[in-house]
Symmetry: C2
Subunit: 332 residues, 2 copies
Amino acid sequence: MDTATLPDQFALSLADIEQAHDRIRRYIVRTPLLESAALNDLVGGRVLVKPECLQNAGAFKFRGACNRLLQLTPAQRAAGVVAFSSGNHALAVSTVARSLHIPATIIMPSDAPRAKIDGSRANGATVILYDRQKDDREAIGAEIAERTGAVTVPPYDDPYIMAGQGTVGIEIVEQCIEHGVHPDAVIAACSGGGLVAGVAIAVKALSPNTDVYAGEPAGFDELARSLASGRPESNVPGAKSICDALQVVKPGKLTFPVNQALLAGSLVVNDDDVRRAMKAAYQHLRLVVEPGGAVPLAALLAGKLDVRGKAVALVLSGGNVDTDVYIEALKA
Amino acid sequence: MDTATLPDQFALSLADIEQAHDRIRRYIVRTPLLESAALNDLVGGRVLVKPECLQNAGAFKFRGACNRLLQLTPAQRAAGVVAFSSGNHALAVSTVARSLHIPATIIMPSDAPRAKIDGSRANGATVILYDRQKDDREAIGAEIAERTGAVTVPPYDDPYIMAGQGTVGIEIVEQCIEHGVHPDAVIAACSGGGLVAGVAIAVKALSPNTDVYAGEPAGFDELARSLASGRPESNVPGAKSICDALQVVKPGKLTFPVNQALLAGSLVVNDDDVRRAMKAAYQHLRLVVEPGGAVPLAALLAGKLDVRGKAVALVLSGGNVDTDVYIEALKA
């Protein structure tokens, strides 16, 4: 597959991601591509780590939020933004909004990590908490947008958000070239699917024979099951996972067609796999990675993908974790 | 002061550091310059963090070891290298030696962190442990070098090592320019003084009106006292510090003249300051920083330097820490 054969019905193209990259470049951290001899030894291949936990606001979400908010008109900026988020999108939107002097209202689940709720409030955002099991966060957001005139900044089903997240994929390909290595595979965590969809569009366009995989936590493996059945499947209500950032009900409307067309699969891991990966990132990479952000490394260390003799790039997508959860992982 | 006025009796010049940079560039991580709005708020200025804990082998020491070992002749490579180190230099030398297929013997204190001893052994080095209070590590190293013909790779008192460490300073100045910020000050931890001396030569040559400070732990503040008295002062035997990486007896022979001529001062912190800084690096930067590596941030957060309205670049120099020590800091 080359660029020309990418289905043109997608919500965005490589060109959109490249434009996003030009737009946000001076605001983001070009996170390095890190490698650890110890991790390489563990999997028998080369592991190239893209640490988006070092991104501003501690997650890749800053890229999409930045791309979206930079395109607001002066009138829209004055009216403000509203976002619903399990946490990292909240931190990203509130961080960008603060620096652009835009009023922000963030709708977050009441069981989100304190680090994410407190951080969003510290950024000056108005935080509204909802019950993850009972309330409809999209409806709450729509009501506020209707009432205040604020622009809704969705977490993934938005071409500008997806394009911003896709800049991670451009950088991975660029940095693999700088390192003189061809990535046989790229793995990125999937919740609503904006990150992995954006990354897939960029990577498949720039490096067509690189396989792109999603990573998901057990219980929230809607993408793996949707890819298997060929249609969007929902998660069973009431599932639990340590991965607070990766808990959606069903695949995104804009993201699923992309992921269905471009992904080589979705790798599913359990909480123990995730804790071991968090500890490995601490020990071998000196990175603080939150549960959801550790899923791609968890998949590798749990043997969900055979990378012996191959090179694989992993997005470690965020690092906003409550200390008790983190210490539990280090003791694992 | 500009380049031309740097005393020419130093063991190395900016040109040596630039040559080192060209030599090691393809082997090192060009660590990013990170910034956190929360840290900026805490100190009332801009804090630009150079996370050398993300360097290969987890510390800046990789730069100097790489610069030194790349210059060995084939005969020297065959005879091997011997290094004495409190840990990070051991990891760095053994990592470089492994990749260049050079036999390495490392002499380490018996109370070094397990992470550092085990890591050096995992790299294939022969590790010899000594008693930090009783034995003379330099004498042990000299005896081995004499007997085996191995080349001694000292941790700081060597122009090539100092030049390698100084590449951190070149990158800080380059990256501050990329960020559009002029650094009013740079702080780097000091043990033997190779890092801060190399950084000072680079920074004072490239950005003459930037003040360069050392950071030291209480009890091992030989540089602060030496700068005050005007001559090399020794630490009192038996002192204790959480900063395992920063425990020397007296300033280096080659490093002290540089530090005496170029530094604006040395900032001294205690163990509680260090633990708070390790936690702040975890929380606000998602970086795992070891005690010695956290000293510059500890100095800022403890108010040892007033940076209100100013920009200061900090080298967080390493991230190799035992988990019990790390968890204790996160609980602080």
